[in-house]
């Protein structure tokens, strides 16, 4: 790349010299005999001068040919189809369009390239801990939509979760028919308002039992604000469009591990408090308690 640029530079330079020397030839021809040629043998002097100039031009031309021969031709031009006619646009304000078009084409091309690279790297270093299988052979019966599912499907899911954990009590209300908002209270520790969008978890707010069930105000306690934040992270982590019911189940399983929010010490440092907060993070796979700073 570097070498290509250098060669291109030198080729351009030699063209420049060639042009300036050709100009000098024409200058000399147009001026004809001048006073500084003197009186004696002025024709001879003039012819000599012209010959000299023509030789330099000849040399320069050879240089140009050499340097051009060294250049590597670019690997195929951008084929932008009929958009090339944009460059022929005569209206002044539209002339810039073509340049912008080419630039954005280059951008998308780069993005394509980088994303392909990133995809390769990420697929070899998978850090996703839920087990998703995208193979076409084992694909389960695909649901047509996760947003718009019959309400009895959601109802079944919620009741099955309710049965799964004895210390989680769930009350449901449905401000909008297919999208329930459930209040899951976890023992005497905390309660969470979880809003569903079809089969997917849309929003989670964790609060103390004494606080209101409002979905839009956060808890007044720092520890529950932190838990809410972590719940959002887990909600995104467990999200799986292919198997939404599994995602909800995994999330609730993880959420259930907060039943020892105040009583369990951090797995890493062994203390209860760090920054005056108990361990608010739960490992996504092992469900072990950690402080935010210790995880």
């Amino acid at each position: 790349m570097e070498r290509d640029l250098e060669q291109l530079n030198s080729a351009l330079n030699s063209i420049k010299t060639l042009r300036s020397n050709v100009r000098r030839v024409f200058e000399s021809v147009s001026n004809g005999l001048r006073a500084d040629h003197g009186d004696e043998g002025k024709e001879n002097k003039y012819i000599l001068e012209l010959q000299e100039l023509l030789t330099t031009v000849n040399n320069d031309l050879r240089d140009v040919e050499n340097s051009v021969a060294n250049l590597t031709p670019p690997p195929g031009a951008f084929s932008l189809g009929s958009t090339t006619s944009l460059s022929q646009e005569t209206t002044h304000e539209r002339q810039a369009l073509y340049g912008q078009l080419v630039n954005s084409y280059k951008w998308t091309d780069k993005i394509h390239e980088y994303s392909a690279l990133a995809g390769n790297i990420l697929s070899t270093n998978s850090f996703n801990k839920t087990y998703k299988t995208f193979s076409t052979t084992k694909r389960r019966k695909t649901q047509t939509s996760n947003h718009n599912v019959p309400s009895d499907v959601i109802e079944n899911l919620i009741t099955s979760i309710n049965k799964l954990f004895p210390d989680v009590t769930i009350t449901t209300n449905r401000p909008f028919v297919p999208n329930p908002v459930i209040q899951a209270s976890l023992g005497r520790v905390l309660k969470a308002s979880i809003a569903f969008k079809g089969l997917m978890i849309e929003w989670v707010v964790v609060k103390a039992h004494a606080e209101s069930n409002d979905l839009w105000t956060e808890s007044r306690y720092k520890v529950f604000k932190k838990v809410t934040e972590n719940c959002h992270a887990a909600m995104c982590h467990f999200h799986s469009p292919m198997m939404p019911d599994l995602a909800v189940r995994s999330f609730m399983h993880w959420f259930h591990s907060y039943n020892i929010l105040f009583s369990a010490p951090c797995k890493r440092c062994g203390n209860h408090l760090h920054n005056n907060l108990p361990p608010t993070w739960r490992d996504l796979r092992t469900l072990e308690p950690y402080h935010e700073e210790c995880k």
Binding site: A208, A210, K222, S263, P265, H272, L273, N276, L277
Partner: protein, 208 residues
């Protein structure tokens, strides 16, 4: 209302204000912010002999619940707690012919109130009829309502803040109620326990 632990802090030959100063420097160094003052007071009334066996009523106020008057009636066999609104004070005045108060037993704990994270810390100077008696440190962990769940956490906080003077066991009053939901009257019970001990102890003799 969260779980509250009340513990006595030894003065060790220091004066009351000096001890409060030491403790408030410590809590400020931990990052606490002072949020005003607090006051808990207790007045004790005893029944006149004409009413039969002697009964005692302790009337307490806590600035954390300013609109409530707490009273604990001791009949000798059991203690009946009662939480009422402010008019109860006037009712006690009306009943002065049945229940008389001994003015020299009025106990109170007051001092600065701090907030640090979800904790609320109060450093109280205890006086019984305006004689300095000692220091009471109150620590409340507000998000939690069951003492058993957060006792270890509170113990760690108290020991981090009070050092070796921090408690190693839950207060006697709470020991039988560790699994129950904590309520403001439980704090009042703890204060009364400490006030009763302070009243019996000989005064340190320093004016607060």
């Amino acid at each position: 209302m969260g779980v509250t632990i009340l513990t006595q802090f030894p003065t060790e030959n220091r004066t009351g204000p000096h001890t409060i100063d030491v403790l408030s420097k410590r809590i400020m160094a931990l990052g606490a912010l002072q949020q005003g003052q607090f006051l808990v007071d207790c007045e004790t009334y005893t029944s006149v002999p004409q009413l039969g066996p002697q009964r005692t009523v302790h009337v307490l106020h806590n600035s954390e619940q300013p609109a409530t008057v707490f009273s604990l009636l001791e009949t000798g066999t059991k203690t009946i707690p009662l939480a009422t609104d402010g008019l109860f004070d006037l009712l006690m005045m009306k009943m002065s012919s049945f229940y008389t108060s001994k003015k020299q037993t009025k106990a109170e704990s007051k001092g600065p109130r701090y907030e640090i994270g979800d904790f609320c810390v109060k450093l109280g100077t205890v006086t019984v009829s305006s004689n300095f008696k000692g220091i009471l440190v109150e620590v409340e962990y507000r998000p939690c309502v069951v003492p058993a769940m957060c006792w270890d956490l509170l113990k760690e906080f108290l020991q981090g803040f009070l050092g070796l003077s921090g408690p190693t066991n839950p207060p006697a009053y709470l020991q039988n109620r560790m699994q129950e939901i904590y309520s403001p009257i439980d704090t009042i019970h703890q204060y009364l326990e400490h006030f009763t001990i302070f009243r019996k102890s000989p005064g340190i003799g320093m004016r607060a």
